[in-house]
């Protein structure tokens, strides 16, 4: 096997290892945590949004 082939093989193996680790970790997190605790979304039920002089929580324009 030539040195070029060895270098290319090492690159493929490293790529496969990284891809596998990323996927395994993503699945692990999904299985061990409730989805509601992961999603970092603003929830209108959490509390009142910042209110200005003329605003309220539901009057935001939805253009």
């Amino acid at each position: 096997m030539s040195s070029v082939a060895v270098v290319e093989l090492v690159a493929w193996v490293l790529s496969a290892l990284i891809a596998a680790w990323l996927l395994v970790d993503m699945v692990r997190v999904a299985r061990t945590h409730d989805e509601a605790t992961l999603v970092n979304a603003p929830d209108p039920l959490d509390g009142p949004p910042p209110a200005g002089p003329a605003g309220d929580a539901t009057s935001a324009r939805s253009a």
Binding site: A11, I18, V29, H33, A36, L38, A41, A60, S62
Partner: protein, 483 residues
């Protein structure tokens, strides 16, 4: 391990905001500088020189400075708005607050595609550079581009997945090195000395070299003048992860644009003084070629390493920015909320990072798989046009921002001087660059506009019903009158 990582499964859905993992606020001005300059600096090493083919030596210089003015306006506008609305997604969050959901969706899409395409192009170029390196090291066998493009994207995605601090600290080191190599080349060629290797007067001094196609050539050169700065606006994406966004974003961004204007001017000067314009206009790696002409092995090695570092830094920054834009849209339900998740241990938008990996790999390998190198320029054009569409929105958006929150109504860490002149200048210059791009890539421009039109129709018809309309105002600002 953070406390949130140990939270048991099956917790009720009424989880408070405090218990949710958030992006970690760890970044300093140097990271913002590294993010902005890191994405862009590869454009100094390659790509900008196509402006010389369009407009000649002076045409490229005019493009360098006029487009530099356009990006200075962008950076100043970003600095003010982002210091007031420091949210991941940057311009997407700005559009959400100043215009509305449809504009925000489009801006989020521009950002994601611009950075993902740029990342794909960087990975493709990286594999080309490694092949060149193996040739210089005496290998007579050609390296396959597939494994190295894939490895580069995956390794950088892994780094971004594990934490923003490490990935942008790495960017600071390799971007600093790449910038230093440009300075070293300038010093190594003794560019200030008339008796040294540069032949600026000889190579650019007559009309045939300086402005071969007149002023229309200068206008046509503008689209490639963007290469000097394309991506500096990405500093806004990291605002939510700064220790102090009102301090870090303006400092890092303004230092970044100053760095880039210096780097761009030096690059033009060195290349215009060493390479004939016909060659420079079509060269793949002009700075590296200038180093080879010097005859110094040290400069050759340094510039090759600088090119590699600049390419890696650009791909790394692109992963960071594209994932933040995608994550932000998921968080606001412009996309499935699944993408709005934050990793409980690493505090990164991990699903957005992983989702964009196969997209980037596909676009990086497309020119190789189809054996059509011109597809690389199509990928890059897609990225540039997406960026350009975003710039054209920023001027009007900023004028509206100032109307909604006039000076004195909210605290500003940075206030744009001479308002509305920079916003008007940005809009006018964007229109000129659009025209220049139409001259060279008219079909691509129409195709991409059609793509975004279809995406907008999909958003309005199929996705808008999922957006929580009452929860879109997330900035820590008073709601303006009538909002």
């Amino acid at each position: 391990m953070s406390a949130t990582e140990d939270a048991p499964a099956g917790v009720g859905t009424a989880t408070s905001t405090q218990e949710r993992p958030a992006l970690r606020q760890v970044l300093a001005p140097m990271h913002i500088w590294a993010l902005g300059v890191g994405i862009v600096l590869v454009g100094e090493y390659m790509g900008w020189n196509f402006a010389v083919e369009k407009g000649g030596m002076y045409g490229a210089l005019v493009a360098c400075w006029v487009v530099g003015l356009l990006y200075t306006c962008i950076v100043m506008i970003n600095s003010e708005v982002t210091s007031a609305i420091p949210a991941a997604g940057g311009q997407y969050a700005q559009a959400k607050h100043t215009v509305g959901p449809l504009m925000a969706f489009n801006v989020g899409l521009y950002l994601t595609l611009a950075y993902t395409m740029l990342e794909a192009a960087n990975a493709n170029v990286l594999s080309y550079l490694l092949t060149t390196l193996s040739g210089l090291m005496g290998s007579d066998q050609e390296l396959s581009p597939y494994p190295f493009a894939v490895l580069a994207i995956l390794a950088l995605a892994f780094l971004n997945y594990r934490g923003v601090f490490a990935s942008l600290t790495l960017n600071f080191v390799i971007t600093g090195f790449a910038f230093a190599t440009i300075l070293v080349l300038f010093v190594g060629l003794r560019a200030w000395s008339p008796s040294a290797e540069l032949d600026l007067a000889g190579l650019t001094g007559d009309a045939a070299n300086a402005l071969p196609y007149g002023w229309i050539g200068v206008i046509a050169a503008f689209q490639f003048g963007m290469w000097f700065y394309l991506g500096i606006e990405g500093t806004a994406q990291a605002a939510e992860e700064c220790r102090s966004a009102p301090r870090s974003v303006p400092l890092g961004s303004l230092a970044g644009i100053m760095t880039l204007i210096i780097a761009a001017s030096l690059t033009w000067y060195v290349c215009a003084g060493t390479l004939p314009w016909h060659y420079l206009g079509t060269a793949i790696t002009p700075l590296f070629d200038a180093a080879r002409l010097s005859g110094s092995d040290v400069l050759v090695v340094l510039l090759l390493l600088g090119t590699l570092c600049a390419t890696l830094a650009s791909a790394n920054g692109c992963i960071n920015d594209a994932s933040r834009a995608w994550f932000s849209m998921g968080r606001d339900r412009y996309l499935p909320e699944w993408f709005g998740a934050v990793h409980p241990r690493y505090h990164t938008p991990f699903r957005a990072i992983i989702f964009l990996v196969p997209v980037a790999i596909a676009f990086a390998l497309l020119p190789v798989v189809l054996d059509d190198p011109t597809l690389l320029s199509v990928v890059i054009t897609f990225s540039i046009l997406s960026g350009l569409l975003m710039y054209s929105f920023m001027g009007p958006s900023f004028i509206r921002f100032r109307r909604l929150w006039p000076e004195g109504s909210i605290p500003r860490a940075y206030t744009l001087p001479l308002h509305p002149a920079p916003a008007i200048a940005l809009t006018a210059l964007s229109a000129v660059v659009f025209f220049a791009t139409f001259l060279g890539y008219g079909a691509a421009l129409i195709s991409i506009l059609s793509f975004y039109l279809l995406a907008s129709i999909w958003f309005v018809a199929r996705r808008y019903k999922y957006v929580r309309r009452g929860a879109q105002f997330t900035a820590d600002l008073p709601r303006p009158q009538g909002y």
